[in-house]
Assembly symmetry: C2
Homo-oligomer: 284 residues x 2
């Protein structure tokens, strides 16, 4: 399993995109894929959860021959840079939608035993076959123009946030009070987002984007670690090329947990993805 | 598997509650439970999805020795009244939270082959161990008092809606314009809810309650069948006894699909559950 010196990224696009390289998986026989989680998607001591989700979701897309419509991930242990195995299982193959599971595993450093990092349950299909009617009543986030929004310098906040260099994020300045000790207390985080490698968004990359902003807890003045227990994303359309507008918010911060809702709007003004996660709140 | 004449409802409470009877499961050895889906929870030709979810979730709670914190269900085929088997699997057993899957199966009438009805992925724990801090910024739905809200008569709308007699629902009259051909077009459905058997809510029954109201699509004048593809519920606290306030809404009705968000507030004014589902929209 570890003998492939230069694994063929058979299911990552040969686009030169670092996102596709990082999420590329190689078939290793029925229902098994090999991946390699790169160091440069690191966050703290582990690998960014959104990236790990996208890796497993790509393998599940190969198993089910489709794009993600609804994907749920439960995070079971922290992923590390290096080799990973994804095991997939189809539960139902339908005419328009198919459902299955994916389990991403890595060998434990000490014992060599395979440990599950993330477990996915997802339904996949073909977004191009959806009808074109859009009755969306939600409105896009009220964001200042791109050139009035600001990047944040990861290095000034925490160490080993390599993943921050994998995206370009321009935050709404009204969400950045926390950097100066003046969080807004609204529980909102929003901005413009694209992959740093210039790759345009697609249903797979949206699974990463829904969890790419700084956690909303910072807007309450709680800048600690917010581990995701569960994240569910609905990808509702193939996104148009270009910058995405992303809004995160929370309304139920209680009992040491918070939900975090994300909306992703594409450059054509379509609400292309919605997600909700349940995360542990940082200690006040 | 079918030889138990009067199955001991070992994991349904001996409370006389028809909800507990209907969701009761009997252990049949490691990781396997027997259930019986009663006809009186029927909706159209199948069994109500929320009830089926609660059955599988009860078995998963037995496997993981906890109450549901975050549960996702993907619906794979229509459940029928009669015997069902639930197979459970623990993915992780943690100190405070454990994660696992549950699969509810029934024998196909024609072939006898086991077919999966619903597949669950869930994280369970102990709500009484959560800290007591509540910073919830969401506000309860603005509902008229209970005695100004109205039941709807299922029999006048569709046949075989036995499940409607299993709950008492008092709808906000502003959401009932659709019954007179004047839907509000807001995509909102809200009201007061309790189980008809008088059983007080708990984390398990909230998994049923989050999908108990009429689908929000009726508020667009689309009263057809809205099959759920995926539903994720977060149960955030042990609910206080009494009536629940439930609000459903949708903001992204597009491409033949819609999300449906639900909030459940208990009698003490706590937001005890949130859910989101992805459903197929009825044909206009």
């Amino acid at each position: 399993m570890t003998s492939v010196a230069e694994p063929e990224r058979s299911l990552g696009r040969a686009s030169g995109s670092e996102f596709d390289q990082a999420t590329g998986v190689t078939s290793e026989g029925p229902h098994a894929y090999r991946a390699e989680l790169p160091q440069k998607w690191r966050v703290g001591g582990g690998i960014n959860g959104g990236l790990v989700l996208a890796v497993a979701a790509r393998a599940l897309g190969a198993e089910l021959d489709g794009s993600p419509f609804a994907v749920t991930a439960h995070y079971l242990s922290a992923s590390r840079a290096g080799v990973a195995t994804v095991r997939t299982k189809a539960l139902k193959r339908g005419r328009s939608l198919s459902t299955g599971t994916a389990s991403l595993l890595q060998a434990d450093k000490a014992t060599g035993e395979l440990r599950e990092r993330v477990h996915l349950l997802g339904t996949y299909g073909d977004h191009s076959r959806l009808d074109g009617e859009v009755r969306t009543s939600a409105v896009p986030p009220d964001l200042p123009p791109l050139d009035e929004c600001l990047p944040i310098d990861g290095a000034s906040i925490v160490t080993h946030m390599d993943v921050m260099d994998r995206t370009e994020i321009r935050y709404d300045p009204s969400c950045l009070g926390w950097l100066k000790g003046k969080p807004s207390g609204r529980g909102v985080m929003q901005g413009w987002v694209r992959l740093a490698d210039g790759r345009d968004p697609d249903p797979l990359s949206l699974l990463f984007v829904v969890d790419a902003l700084a956690p909303v807890a910072v807007d309450f003045g709680l800048p600690g670690w917010c581990p995701t227990l569960e994240l569910t994303a609905h990808v509702r359309a193939d996104p148009a090329p270009g910058w995405l507008r992303v809004r995160h918010s929370t309304r139920n911060f209680a009992g040491g947990l918070l939900e975090e809702d994300a909306e992703v709007w594409d450059s054509a003004g379509r609400l292309v993805a919605q997600s909700r996660q349940l995360a542990k709140a940082p200690k006040p």
